[in-house]
């Protein structure tokens, strides 16, 4: 029992990332009808927003008066300690706290940056591909993904960059003790718990935005029947562009918060992209709840497949289980778990 709960929990954090990326992919597909292979790259860009923001925060100067000793005209650099500007401005305690909380604070930095990137991408490139075949859309966004990835590699190098979570969230939570099992049987890192709740909030926010605001209502109407909405005199293109920006922001935020779980590297987007597409297809192309459901489901299935008991029977199953599930789903329920009729059916 405790092992099952542990695996479900283990599946949640990866599942959250899949769900967030798949949600963005589905939003873009549902609104603009574009298959965006660069969405994984947006996830990666979000993670590097966190990296950039952290390094901006710890950017500092060397105080001239303190700490430098010079012996016979030689100054010893090692003795000079850089003081981050943040510490200088906000004082010792508040400044260090800000640096410690760099990853959550990056959210504030990432939202405008990612929306801007999304809007530029849509206006600059994707716009010209609405009427082209899906194959062309796949290919051009695939090229864009390679370019974004290589640009990041050029500026940040090929190695993963560790970005730690705030000290308050370092360590693990002992679910076992709480639920009445042996203490230590279900141990779960705090940050993964944070990530799951964060993902749940974002997903709820996106759904609430689409469901309860006028803007969201118009967008949903546009998804259902673009032509009629246009005839009503609504500039649906502009709203869809904003939705693209939002989808980019969702992917970016997923990336920002994922950095303490896995140190970001330039190819993390590609690693997630292929799986996210599988998630979208399993969930049903164009279905937002389907994408979220399939994201968590596949994350949990993957976690179960990684159990040593399972691996003893079927070695290597953890590497391929998602693809197997996708193949089975596509062959038995071609529209995916919650796919609507008439979406992407030629």
């Amino acid at each position: 029992m405790d092992a099952i709960i542990l695996q479900i929990l283990n599946g949640l954090d990866k599942g959250s990332a899949y769900a967030l990326i798949a949600l963005g992919l589905t939003l873009i597909f549902g609104t603009l009808g574009v298959v965006n292979f660069a969405h994984g790259a947006l996830f990666m860009l979000g993670a590097f927003c966190a990296v950039t923001f952290s390094s901006l925060l710890s950017f500092g100067f060397v105080p001239e008066d303190a700490g430098s000793t010079s012996v016979g005209g030689f100054s010893f650099g090692a003795l000079q300690r850089e003081t981050p500007y943040v510490v200088h401005w906000f004082g010792e305690n508040a400044g260090n706290a800000i640096i410690d909380w760099a990853v959550p604070l990056s959210i504030l930095f990432a939202i405008p940056v990612m929306i801007a990137i999304g809007v530029i991408m849509e206006r600059g490139l994707i716009k010209h591909f609405y009427k082209r075949p899906h194959a062309d859309q796949i290919l051009v966004t695939f090229g864009l993904a390679i370019v974004l990835q290589e640009v990041i590699k050029y500026f940040y190098g090929a190695n993963p960059i560790p970005t730690p979570a705030p000290d308050a969230f370092v360590g693990s939570f002992d679910f076992g003790a709480m639920l009445g099992f042996d203490p230590g049987s279900i141990v779960y890192p705090y940050w993964r718990l944070v990530y799951f709740f964060f993902a749940a909030i974002i997903i709820a926010a996106v759904f609430a935005f689409l469901q309860f605001t006028t803007f969201g209502m118009v967008v949903r109407a546009g998804m259902a029947d673009r032509e009629t909405v246009t005839l009503l005199g609504i500039d649906i293109d502009k709203r869809f562009t904003i939705m693209f920006g939002l989808a980019a922001a969702v992917a970016g935020l997923a990336g920002v918060m994922y950095t303490p779980i896995n140190s970001p590297n330039y190819h993390m987007g590609m690693d997630f992209l292929v799986l996210s597409f599988v998630v979208v297809v399993v969930g049903g192309m164009g279905s937002l709840p389907g994408a979220v459901l399939a994201g968590f489901l596949l994350g949990i299935i993957e976690a179960f497949a990684s159990m040593t008991e399972v691996l003893d029977v079927l070695p290597g199953i953890n590497q391929i289980v998602i693809y197997l599930v996708a193949i089975i789903v596509l062959l038995t329920r071609p529209r995916g778990l919650m796919g609507r009729k008439g979406v992407m059916e030629e």
């Binding site: 009427k131 090229g143 290589e150 599988v278 193949i327 596509l330």
Partner: protein, 426 residues
Amino acid sequence: MTDQTQQTATVTQPRPRTRSSGGILGLTKKDFGLLVLVAILTIFAPVILNPFPAGSAMAQFNAGYPDLMQRFVIFGIFAIGFNILFGLTGYLSFGHAAFLGVGSYAGIWSMKLLTLNVIPAILVSVIVAGLFSLIVGFISLRRSGIYFSILTLAFAMMSYALAYSVLTPITGGETGLQLRASDPRIFGGELMPGMTPRATLFGMQMQDSTDLRFGAWTFTLNTGYYIAGIVLLVAFYLSIRIFRSPFGMMLRAVKSNQNRLNYTGLSPKPYTLAAFVISGMYAGLAGGLLVAMDTQVGAERMFWTASGEVVLMTILGGAGTLIGPILGAGFIKYFENIVSTINKSTLESWFAFMPDGLQDAFVAVIYPFVGKGWHLTLGLLFMLVVIFLPGGLVQGGSKLATVFRRDRKGGGVEDDAAAQRQAREE
């Protein structure tokens, strides 16, 4: 109704122009010319690709060394096969590298267990890749459009993940497979310990080269290259025949309108599956040749970027055209090899004639795109081709040609294919 039947009639009945009406080798004059052109290019490639004297400053742009030329030819075959599926039926497979990889593994096992002769190795590669693509195709082709792309991608990623982990006894995992003297070969296995096993063809070794010297120029004629070249010509000839056959016409019908095909009472499934298996066998052939040339194989050959690369080769050359994939493969492989060897000092020497500040600026701007930044250039190229030249180099060439000779109507199959592709976009 009458309108419908008339239109379907044009789909199912091959137009007279495209029917293979005797001719040389069963090809029309134009197609035969294309075949001869490819043959001449293949035969004289060691000379054509080495236009600069060895040791001169421009020598780094020479591409006439055996390893690279073999790659031109082998990836040309790979792209020709991919084009039979993508160019004719429009099904975009994102997992073709898996067939290349499976073919490679099959080939190297044939050389490990059977004989060092490359012919059985290549045959085994083709057969195993064909069987594998039959399974993958049977499942993937139940869906079309983007679902098909993702299914093939899923199969390729699965093969890659398995080759890296569970199947390590068969695939060698991360280290891959190499030929060893200790391999239990049935025929001709009696190698002295310490001798390196080499791929042969009835005594001819793949690595054997003859250097021809003309003054400052050196041309390397390599056995392996010419064997691969002969295979390319055969593969190209077969692809022309497929393009011009009623079967090829059916594949085009699948691309242009599947519904109409269904209404006429024809199922597209056997045709697309056949095209899929044929292109899988081409990929296996390429994989077998790769093993025959460098006698080693690793799982990275099956990674999905490798699948993306063959898509790019086909699109860059011109999907649905005959010669396009070969051009695309040559172009990509040439630039990959040349661009990735340019380093900072090379750049500095190029711009040495400029004033210092300007030189640094030029070097700083170009440097990210060369050397290790080759993938950046590749990605940009990918985007530029898809955006501006969806018909590929062939379309670009025919556009240029029509600009230069306005008076003559630019007919021909290549223009047709480009026009079709454009028409599909509208």
